[in-house]
Symmetry: C2
DNA sequence: CCAATTTGGAAACGATCGTTCCCTTTTTCG
DNA sequence: CGAAAAAGGGAACGATCGTTTCCAAATTGG
């Protein structure tokens, strides 16, 4: 992953995102953008958008607040860049997890186990940036709303494809409607993030997965 | 509902929550506490905690900011009182909905339809105060965390009881584990609120319920 | 080597926020 | 009727926040 895919409109100048060669004019950036965004992701996940101050961000990213404004237009731009990176990494993780020769049904089980793991304990309490953005910002910020909707739609498509592949290889009954089941699975997994953020003791993974998999029976 | 059940520690003085008789000493309150809390609930649901200013609250509750502090210790106390009322009303609504002579399975369907309705359109975009609190506040505020956990636990018990009643009247198979299915239903319903807040077009109610009911098959 | 350009960083600014203060109004108690 | 008590309301306060400004440092182009 040599070149980040953060939308370049969000970044102040146009540094290091054109062709990789030929350094631009002035003083080079002293920090790694992707690492910095990872720190920002962490802070935004834990505290949300409004409760995260520029000072919090600067401290987490080990940057002076003035320097932050050299790299980003404003706080919202930091958030959107962090969101885009979070969504991209999450999508890649999901696709890699499901990219195996196993039957569709078994891969769906593994994806559910992945969600359970991410909704548990400390990681669960950190929360999901997509869920947090949907709750805190989607109503009043069309840019965030569009991004959240795109993530949910992508997840739904991911589940639907997994189910259809299961139907092809015979591990999932052909009778069920992939789209409807996928919608239910999106609700189930997003709900797991909510419950995990609340810090409720997680259910036993095996029996929870067994129950959830009934949605594909 | 003559007497509100808002925890009296949250309210500044101890007005109108002891015995209903014998007015206390000073000038009587000019506004209705429950009505005011309903307005506060609305604002907190739409904007969340941090993004709601005292000015927003005062305007919505048709109160001067100074008067607000006569009735509540601080902003957090307003929120907690609003949360408690929201949770109480929600629980009552759910219990009333399920208090019919119909078989358990059918009542579970109706509860799911109720959640779909509340996750749709404008009402869906207003969002659920429990979900919002879990995401925005539960990590850093133990008081909120306890309340959110209690709501989730109550919902889980509600679903589990409904399932057990269905198993008694023969409408739900005895084979399934009520606790595990209830946990999945909690995730599913909380997830519906997240998706609804994001403003995604809702699924067809009938087929969604049919799929969700597989959790109790 | 000097001008141009860009970043790093600290200090400063204006706006907003939660809260308090103070004065008036309305009520009860003696 | 006067004192005490509590609420209504607006002005004021201190803190914090997002953002801008300014200067030093680093790099490239000519």
């Amino acid at each position: 992953m040599p070149v980040s895919s953060v939308a370049s409109e969000l970044l102040r100048p146009h540094r290091s995102y054109g062709r990789p060669q030929r350094r631009p004019r002035g003083r080079p950036r002293a920090f790694d953008m992707d690492e910095a965004l990872d720190k920002a992701i962490r802070v935004f996940r834990e505290r949300g958008y409004k409760a995260t101050s520029i000072g919090d961000l600067a401290e987490a990213m080990t940057l002076a607040s003035g320097s932050l404004y050299k790299a980003f237009r404003d706080k919202r731009a930091v958030f959107l860049a962090a969101f885009d990176r979070y969504a991209e990494l999450g999508a890649k993780q999901l696709l890699r997890l499901a990219d195996t020769p196993k039957p569709g049904r078994e891969r769906l089980c593994e994806v559910l186990a992945f969600y359970i793991e991410n909704s548990r304990g400390l990681e669960g309490k950190r929360g999901c940036l997509v869920v947090g953005s949907a709750i805190e910002l989607a109503i009043h910020d069309p840019g965030v709303a569009a991004r959240v909707k795109a993530c949910l739609a992508r997840n739904e498509t991911f589940f639907a494809n997994l189910i259809r592949e299961g139907q092809s290889d015979g591990s999932i009954p052909k009778r069920i409607d992939a789209e409807t089941a996928a919608r239910a699975l999106v609700c189930l997994t997003q709900g797991m993030r909510v419950v995990g953020k609340a810090g409720r003791p997680p259910p036993d993974a095996a029996s929870f997965i067994e129950t959830a998999m009934k949605l594909a029976n």
